[in-house]
Symmetry: C2
Subunit: 443 residues, 2 copies
């Protein structure tokens, strides 16, 4: 009996890699003073209907529970987040800066970069409408890549704007109720031939050829100057001129943070989800290989749609599957930590109680200690010490405690009552503190 | 639209508490040189049928996916673990010592200490049949409690033995195929009246009254001496005499680790799951209040039953819900960390680019830094600095950078090019290293 298609088993080596990715996500979010939150893994189905868009709804793992409720495994975090913040908005200090590292589920065809269960890093800012929030989110996304060791030669952020798109589409005569359908067509434009796209637009009773030409022109803009020129030559876009101000603030802030080398203005990006409203962006490898590494944007109307107050919001998600492929391709996967730092051996079985006492003492200090669980020859024990990657072997013998540095073979006798200090001096960290510290921690 | 019954939303304060519990679980498991693993959240339904026992199967969240597969949300980790290890047993070095921190799901009536989604710490040793593995697992369980600040006055481990029970029941004439049904009755004995238990035993066509008397006697044993006496006066238990040796080794090892103060021998414990075979144990508050904090035992036949090789195995699980109630009752919940360590303020809006550059620099060092996202008066900014718990406010002004210690009000001017060193000297940690270190990390 194997696993279900699209689900993964993480053996220790893969799990350590995953945990390393999680650690970098969490540490970077905390450096940006984002706070952790968690939403339920299962939610009422209706949370996703019409909020996330048809593509997500088609891919839901959903079912009836034993109480007859229609429920779904979360395909993404944003609706849950918007519902949580909406329910307590009055009590939360603004700006609300929250992050999550958790698993999401989509019933898709498993393929490279896409699985049915995957982890996401979500970061969101609620309660701040200005481009300062967008800049901070983009900075967090880029800094996360940097903390993995990725550079602007390897990844970039394609930055776009739904506000521009929605206003432009309206001015081209696309009716309100078809805006999202057209955005969805634009979202897939890169992968489709012109004739296919025209047919789709005509199916919506729109002037396919003319509209596609306009779409392709706007999609092709790659600089603030080009956007400005487009707006100036299209006077009917007047409401959009003020939008230029937001663009200028955003770009100036990214420049101040020295992040412009990572940014590519690219109006070809519109994002697939229904709820986006303002700046949107996706991160890709520079090479153009692989799916998006991360994506996000502003969703100023979602909290209210889910029953909360009017609350501006923006955020992004970064998935583990594409990211790990990218880190591997660029040789950025971190080295594996050893299973144990210290191995405790015994020269004869009668010394086991003494070894166990020492083992327990060191473990209480947070040192990573391995011993044997049953009678084993000293040679086999020292083999195991090598196997678990220990730097030091401490051998309990009738003559006392012999400490051997397994990296250089050097041995010396160490008094048992100073062994913790001795190991510390050798560079072993004691993350749980000294016994004195842990007494202080006692309640 | 609220959450589903039995599911939790974690707002930042609750999420920080949860993460703190996870950290202690992980650090303690690593001190014992256990390696992390992860199993799928969804598994084929058949993985749990007949392996976990009827109680777990009755509580499964199970459904058909869009491909017609019968699938279940994992109610526990052990069957997945046994399947994973079984599939790669030949390639894994023994002893296999693995741990997991993850979410499980059971469709139960939500009540105090029981939810439908909960987190578990699972730790298991596979490939070692002797009591040394049981001793190490019990030590890990106890040390975990100690690392939370709980003492032997507050919690204890009720230690029992399925081997004893299975042999005794057989010798009392309980047929092989009814052993598990009777164990299930014994598991619930504490909460039921004698007449109820007798009726249940008689429904199995067993001599209810006589059998209950024998059961109650064995359940009442509370010491190694009492077990020894019981075995000696029941000569038909001869195969069990050798079992005494295992008990003696286990108790001697726990004594060497100075853990006996936490141990209560208590044959009233049999554990509810079908697959246990040897030593079993549950952790409770000394006061007797609340449900089990953790439980575990040996399951030497499960790996083989799931299609793997014959492989001895033992492990335990600790849940977050009862544990958190216990930590709260004993005032052992950790203090909340502040949202940010450093706040960066500006005296005028034109200095924002400079402040953003500094913010980004400090965040790249891993310092937890908050600033404002939009124009705000200096007073409001310093209020926000207090609100996020920052120890230092760095104010960018035309005269330079002013650093204020928000705990004592002391201010001084700091040169921007030494501000990282200055903050380090004030006790701020830079978990992401110096820029030099992070250059080294670059690939």
């Amino acid at each position: 009996m194997g696993t279900l298609p699209g689900f993964r088993q993480f053996f220790p080596q893969e799990c350590a890699l995953r945990d390393n990715i999680f650690d970098t996500w969490r540490r970077t979010a905390k450096a940006f003073a984002f706070q952790p939150y968690e939403a339920p893994t299962l939610e009422p189905l209706e949370l996703y209907i019409e909020k996330s868009g048809q593509e997500v709804v088609d891919q839901l793992f959903c079912f009836q529970d034993k109480g007859g409720r229609a429920i779904a495994l979360r395909p993404e975090l944003t609706p849950s987040l918007a519902a949580m913040v909406g329910a307590k908005a009055a009590a939360l200090k603004r700006p609300i800066k929250w992050f999550n590292v958790g698993e999401c589920y989509r019933y898709e065809r498993p393929q490279k970069g896409r699985l049915r269960a995957f982890y996401q890093f979500n970061a969101d800012i609620l309660g701040e409408a200005g481009p300062g929030a967008d800049a901070e989110l983009i900075a967090l996304m880029i800094t996360t890549f940097q903390n993995f060791g990725l550079t602007e030669q390897q990844v970039h952020i394609r930055l776009s704007d739904r506000t521009l798109w929605l206003q432009a589409l309206s001015s081209w005569g696309v009716p309100q109720e078809q805006l999202f359908a057209v955005l969805n067509i634009i979202d897939k434009r890169e992968r489709e031939a012109a004739q296919q796209v025209i047919a789709k637009l005509e199916a919506l009773h729109l002037e396919g050829e003319k509209l596609l030409q306009a779409i392709d022109h706007l999609s092709s803009l790659r600089s603030l100057q080009a956007i400005e020129a487009f707006l100036n030559t299209n006077k009917h876009h007047e409401p959009l001129i003020s939008r230029l101000e937001d663009w200028k603030v955003l770009m100036a802030q990214l420049e101040a943070m020295e992040l412009l080398p990572f940014i590519t203005i690219d109006l070809g990006i519109v994002r697939g989800l229904a709820y986006y409203t303002g700046f949107v962006y996706e991160a890709f490898e520079r090479s153009g290989q692989g799916r998006a590494l991360a994506g996000g944007g502003r969703y100023d109307t979602l909290v209210e749609k889910l029953g909360g107050p009017q609350l501006p919001a923006a955020g992004f998600a970064m998935g583990d599957v594409t990211l790990q492929d990218c880190l591997q391709a660029h040789n950025c996967l971190p080295a594996q930590a050893p299973q144990a730092a210290v191995f405790i051996a015994i020269t004869e079985e009668s010394l086991r109680p003494q070894a166990l006492r020492l083992t327990q003492q060191l473990r209480r200090h947070g040192l990573q200690v391995q011993g044997t669980l049953k009678p084993t020859s000293l040679n086999k024990q020292l083999e195991q010490a090598q196997h678990v990657g220990a730097h030091h072997a401490l051998t309990v013998s009738p003559e006392g405690l012999v400490a051997k540095d397994l990296r250089n073979g050097h041995s010396e006798v160490v008094k048992e009552d100073v062994v913790v200090e001795w190991l510390r001096a050798k560079g072993h960290s004691c993350p749980l503190g000294s016994p004195f510290d842990s007494d202080l921690l006692k309640c």
